[in-house]
Subunit: 391 residues, 2 copies
Amino acid sequence: MSITSFHPPARILMGPGPSDVNPRILEAMSRPTIGHLDPVFIAMMDEMKTLLQYAFQTKNELTFPVSAPGSAGMEICFVNLLEPGDKVIICQNGVFGGRMKENAERCGAIPVLVEDTWGAAVDPNKLEETLKSHPDTKVVAFVHAETSTGACSDAKTLVEIARRHGCLTIVDTVTSLGGSPVKVDEWGIDAIYSGSQKCLSCTPGLSPVSFNERAIERIRARQTKVQSWFLDLSLVMGYWGGDGKRAYHHTAPINALYGLHEALVVLQEEGLENAWERHQRNHQALRAGIEAMGLQLAVKEKERLPQLNAITIPAGVDDAAVRARLLQEYGLEIGAGLGEMAGKLWRVGLMGYGSNPRNVLIFLGALETVLHDLGASIESGVAVRAARAAW
Amino acid sequence: MSITSFHPPARILMGPGPSDVNPRILEAMSRPTIGHLDPVFIAMMDEMKTLLQYAFQTKNELTFPVSAPGSAGMEICFVNLLEPGDKVIICQNGVFGGRMKENAERCGAIPVLVEDTWGAAVDPNKLEETLKSHPDTKVVAFVHAETSTGACSDAKTLVEIARRHGCLTIVDTVTSLGGSPVKVDEWGIDAIYSGSQKCLSCTPGLSPVSFNERAIERIRARQTKVQSWFLDLSLVMGYWGGDGKRAYHHTAPINALYGLHEALVVLQEEGLENAWERHQRNHQALRAGIEAMGLQLAVKEKERLPQLNAITIPAGVDDAAVRARLLQEYGLEIGAGLGEMAGKLWRVGLMGYGSNPRNVLIFLGALETVLHDLGASIESGVAVRAARAAW
């Protein structure tokens, strides 16, 4: 055996995540490890809560990062809010709605699907109709920003409908948090989860979550134990809860949390509204360049996520060859289509730190060149010119 | 709000973990993030498997790090190997055996406890007797190295008994891996988990696991779905499995994995046997110093873990005051007693990178000084002299 240290290449991450990580965050993660019960670390955790409350726009006490990726953030919401036999409506318009259904079934809950076209937003009318025909529904779950398609749903309206029917809501904001408006308290979201590696520009591995009092009441009223020990909020609350004591639950991923803390400080410095506006601005420039090349965005305009641009792959273009050349020749990673969108879409992320003019221009220039080399007839420089004109 | 970047103090971590992190690992974690489906990352994952196979002394194909702390490593073993109604014998001699029981119950399994005194090893005879009276047992689970007490059980013998009775075994090696012999194939362990932050000297947040063919057969023969989507090995195998393809499951914690890779390269460079021997050598020096001060190790000699030294707190000594002064005056963290050992023990780790003469001497000198300042009559320098004589 002769395996040596791993030295990754410097990529430009413009896929669906992980996105480009701010160097400040990488540096923060390399600071000295301290104990998870150290008073200094506990003070940092208190700051983390405040910073996450700002990112989520909430006053919820139970706001913290799960010590695992976004998939575990999804699972913590489902296993805590649902009990066997509970009916849950899941709005599915992409891969991650399907994963929600899997989670609900594994809790012994009864999922009812509201299906929408992949690439379109969730239809509020369909949710309303389904709630009317399933008045015993306890929870409504949906994905705010579908990472598999780049479609953004109207979370505010969907939550309003669910609450009107007496349901709790679970909302996936893995791709939206920090890139598009997410307003937990104003919209009345009961349980929400996100990921560290999208618009927060942190490394992957943590899942910020928040639960309001209605969600906590539901958890307190459970008849059965939560099926996961690791994700049981009644235990996690003893560690991250607001009572000042920190009961040992599991060993927190110290250095990863340094990184998330720094990411949230960066977000606070810029200001949420400025970050949202920046994502829009760079998205519009990318869009202008894409369209100038004769390509199309797959999602209709008012449902588009600025941080995740789904581009329809033109007929006759070799999907894998384009992505491979972007990676090999420019160190530029974009995303393939996922699930039923495989081969149909490229997913181009402009997330967090990576939502900047440099990435827009690099991507447009590289794509134009690769498509030209593969035989497409594109006027040289047309995409970059269009983007510059759009800023 | 005016929260700024977090700058942790430089501690000396001599508690039960996290332990001192090798600076090489912190530097590795700060390398540029790349995508989790990048061919270069996938090649790194293949190396990781080889390195972990070496650490676990196994040829098991299904050997990988769970993207979450050791608690999730425990849970992945229980939720995959157990189905509702299965009987599982759990040998409990500390906090973590109790957690195993919680996990088993939440799977709908029927736990049967074999209880031993906290601070002592698991008694093989009791396991054998219990297996005789519960011939329908499917799984035997125990903790090799109890982090809550510093006791090491005879894993080889316990596994041999379990196999003779037709049971699969789940073994917790969170604190032993890299510090004491762990031989998965030779001992016949079916499912094993560990943690990154103990004798591997990595930051917390990952849980190396390994499953042999017998365990995989059991998983394939399940009648019910695994209750956790995130921890379902049939899905995880598609990502970490040996077939060369990497089906997207969840986004791997890229930079944390850089750290673990580096930690395992460091272990390989030193050699397992050399690492075990080093842990023993520094433990003997610590022990000599402790005893020279008139203090006692709590675990009897042949059951002692070299990497986690449980010291009986002398009568009349203020536990919390001693730990607070060590932390505040020397930046030195040691562990308190956990569960029923609270107030009775100090837990002093000499783990991985932290198992070195410098840490032994700093600890002995600092403890001697603090105890003296609090009124104990200890001859100045006696502990350090004894340690030096023991090396």
